[in-house]
Symmetry: C2
Subunit: 99 residues, 2 copies
């Protein structure tokens, strides 16, 4: 059994789902922190004003909308910003949100 959760293909990334994901300030903060860091970040290493279980929900929404890619390294779940995919699916949107 794969431990990598499902992700939409770049062709499945749509504006409505992405807007629904980033309209939430906490989720937008996750995206902004990934963009600013320039590298992948463990779930527990984000600076977020919510509980761990709430944060997990937010990561899931971002993953299902195609904004982040999640994968495991040992027991740690890491998060990568899907910048190239987003720039291809929705040109300019990520820059407008993180700018």
């Amino acid at each position: 059994m794969s431990r990598t959760p499902p992700h939409p293909d770049v062709s499945q990334i749509d504006l409505q789902s992405v807007l629904e994901a980033v309209v939430d300030p906490v989720r937008r903060s996750i995206v902004t922190q990934l963009d600013a860091a320039g590298h992948d970040i463990k779930c527990g290493d984000f600076d977020l004003p919510v509980s761990k279980s709430t944060a997990t929900h937010h990561f899931t929404v971002l993953r299902e909308a195609g904004l982040i890619r999640q994968y495991y390294v040992g027991v740690a779940r890491l998060n990568a910003l899907r910048r190239a995919d987003l720039d291809r699916a929705l040109p300019g949107l990520l820059d407008a949100i993180t700018g």
Copy 2:
């Protein structure tokens, strides 16, 4: 008494309010129709799948977020896309949404 409803100044346009406005598909359709038309449009002349009163609410949300400017010509309320203000406040966002 002025018949022009209140509008935020360009300096008051913020990402959160704009995202909350455009996350709604009907409101995004209003913005897209204004962008495609290239001219101001009367409230009654949009192609929208909602009642007149619901549409009025959507126009108000868009106006209060700074996406559209509303003004009267006689008894008709017209809507203008605030493209220049939006491009200044949130560069690239409008293009990403209407693209």
